[in-house]
Amino acid sequence: MNHTTRSRGPASRTASHPLWSLLAVAALLGVAACAPKPMAQDPMPPAQPTPPPGAPSPDPRVGLGAGRFDPEEAIGNLRLLSSSRPPEAFVGVTNSDLAFKDNYAIQGNYNGIIVWDLSDPRNPTLVTEYVCPASQSDVSVYENLLFVSGEGLGGRLDCGTEGVQTAVSPDRLRGIRIFDISDIRNPEYVANVQTCRGSHTHSVLKDPNDDENVYIYVSGSAPVRPAEELPGCSGAAPDEDPNTALFRIEVIKVPLADPTQAAIVSSPRIFEGLVEPPQHGMAPADIAAIEEAKARGEFVVEIFGQERIVPSGFVAPMLAAFVQERGREVATAADSAAFREALPGIIAARFGPQEEEGDGPRPGPTQCHDITLYPEIGLAGGACEGYGLLLDISDPDNPTRMDAVADSNFSYWHSATFNNDGTKILFTDEWGGGGQPKCRDTDPMEWGANAIFTLEDGEMRFKSYYKIPAAQTPQENCVAHNGSLIPIPGRDVMVQAWYQGGISIFDWTDPANPVEIAYHDRGPVDPDRMQMGGSWSVYWYNGLIVSSEIARGLDVFELVPSAYLTENEIAAANTVRLSYLNAQGQPQYEWPASFVLARAYLDQLARSSGLSAAQITAARQALDQAENASGTARRTALTTLAESLRAEASGSRDAAKVRMLADAVRALATG
């Protein structure tokens, strides 16, 4: 039941028995069959929530009292700085995603957008409320532009609140709204781009090689609108209409000098050929059988990426034909040897690449929910219905698929987050769409969870699942949702929203063993029934952890030191400064040289016993002395410390971390 499918190639039809009948047909008719390529399987260990050592039992999140604006709360290793209720015009309407610019948090709401000034995080001030209904109103910024997603049927071009009462209407907006926020207190609605499926979410891509444009990748998951409303829209299968709005994403190019000229420039079909069935790898018994067959001298060939024994009934006629071509009636030993060598080629020719045949829509994703763009490493993570995709975005107009994974435990691939150095990717499964309670004690820990993969040579390899360890009530919608990395240097730490499951901060440095390190949770919005609420999304932004609460407003937190996270690590994270942040645009974190950065690495080495207690004490003292010195004395002390650390690295069980520490100290010396 636990398995991934990996797929890159074209269509696949695999099964053990029909293969040979297929081969027979191909041999008889002299035509090639379709070209399947089943993928290797990674074994999937069961998810095991790892309660933090010493965690209170029962979990304080279990059994919290309900309330709309006054529920019971539980908090661990976090401090709640403020909770701001929505402005009146937005109360009772869903708060959605967040974007950040300078000191501002821009909060989407199904009724429009809300802007908060976070300069004093203990007392955020409301600076803008702009009523312009559309779901989901997911927001992104770039410089002076604000982009807002519209998907619901009631969104209007004129921002009116009356909805759209006909199935086909010239007044309806489904797509991207563009605002000029040069004056953030007075957003100016400057343009729209209408799309066939509307925009459920979107991603903004700033190409490092293009300073004149930004690109928006539009993801839409609702049904296709009628062609009478937006000409050219078709929800037909691709073989009926090659211009179908299914099986593609839309790329909008926005000229920064004139955003009113924003338009769709391409509709990449990044899902082409994604039809491989989820399946297990070979069983140990099958592998043993292959080995035995080889030992017996039977013909074993690799077909569809898997070794298979060729039944003698098929070998005989092929051998006969082979020998005949060589001008003989009866095979010699040399013929047999040559045949053995030629057989893989013969088989490959028979099963050579071919277009998928058959009627109806190709199975596979028709769209993505989210695409997380990480331009610094040229990659994107696409969460696309039944698949997680790894995309090459070095050409922004034309993203191409590098790898795809499926997982029988995943219901609906929702969003992706890379770790900072791009060696891992985490996908979320929004099982139930976010409106259902999927964290009950009866719901499997592998369902509605995160799946963590390592990236190795452009392929994704499954390592583990992570789901919040505290069971929630049937009155709380709960499933994995949006979050971001917290720039703890030397570690992969993420904060994530789980709707009414609250927020969870966890460490996935060891991809096989994610560990929760902090949380916040409230009781249900309503004691008697499931009422939408909870954290839609939560992001780290310049030292703050900011959560968009669907029913209750905006929460701002900060990290509190604990056994899992030291004061130095938190302070080092807070040296990272961003000028803006979008939910689906991942920035590469860079840590400026600082004493606290070196101390954070030292704390990690103390935790991992990467250096001895004596070495750590000596290094701490040397850092203190250097910090108290100045000029040449400081430089000399730091250079000396960096060199001695570099020498100690080779003897350490955590040599890489010691080298990071040495580099951080050297950067201080030269800074």
Binding site: P18, A89, G92, V93, A222, P277, S408, S411, M532
Partner: protein, 214 residues
């Protein structure tokens, strides 16, 4: 066809002209606004929305009947996982749709399942004719199948069944004024995308079944 559109202009309706610097309301005021707005949102629905919810409850209920056979009929582990997830998902969605109807003071269909017999009280008698619904003969064939024959039939019928649900969502979206309500839009579009995703997965599973004729 619009049932209660006039309610949209009621007192709790949003006012686009509201001043940005409205005086801060206290918690109990906000709570009152919250409820009023929830009530107002609930008034914005059409006959098509009600028919959709009512019909989809019965439609989902048949998926429960089908999925409940998986553990007893020797389904493969993959099909059992799928069936378990369908039961979990569609039970929750039935509860959501019942709540949606209850909130709008509409008749709430109650589902009773006894083996292969599905009784939906309060849904009228047209529910067996919805797109994708299995006939009694199909259900009985499924109930008699075992092992890989069950897997094949289950996947084939569930694809048929899911396609019917997708058709029902498309029909809802083609109805004037329907799907304006946030909860209805979300429920319907979640059903649409979830079932399309599941159809793709089931088509792959079907192709991977042993003995499949190419």
């Amino acid at each position: 066809m619009l049932l209660a559109l006039t309610a949209c202009s009621g007192p709790a309706r949003l006012d686009a002209e509201a001043p940005a610097e409205a005086p801060a309301a206290d918690a109990s005021d906000l709570e009152a606004i919250y409820w009023a707005r929830q009530d107002s949102a609930r008034a914005r629905f059409t006959d098509a929305d009600v028919d959709f919810m009512t019909g989809m409850i019965a439609h989902h209920a048949q998926a429960l009947v089908m999925s409940a056979l998986a553990p007893t009929n020797g389904a493969s582990p993959a099909v059992q996982t799928l069936a378990a997830r369908i039961i979990n998902a569609q039970q929750d969605e039935i509860a959501s749709m019942q709540q949606w109807l209850r909130d709008r003071e509409q008749p709430v269909p109650e589902v009773h399942i006894d083996g292969l017999t599905l009784m939906v009280h309060g849904a009228g008698d047209h529910h067996m004719h919805m797109p994708g619904m299995l006939t009694r003969q199909q259900l009985e064939a499924l109930a008699q199948a075992r092992g890989s024959a069950f897997d094949r039939l289950f996947l084939t019928y569930m694809i048929q069944h899911h396609r019917g649900a997708v058709t029902m969502v498309d029909a809802l979206f083609a109805a004037d004024g329907a799907g304006q309500d946030e909860a209805a839009f979300k429920l319907a579009s979640d059903i649409h995308v979830d079932q399309l995703t599941e159809i793709a997965r089931m088509e792959q599973m079907l192709e991977a079944l042993p003995g499949q004729t190419p």
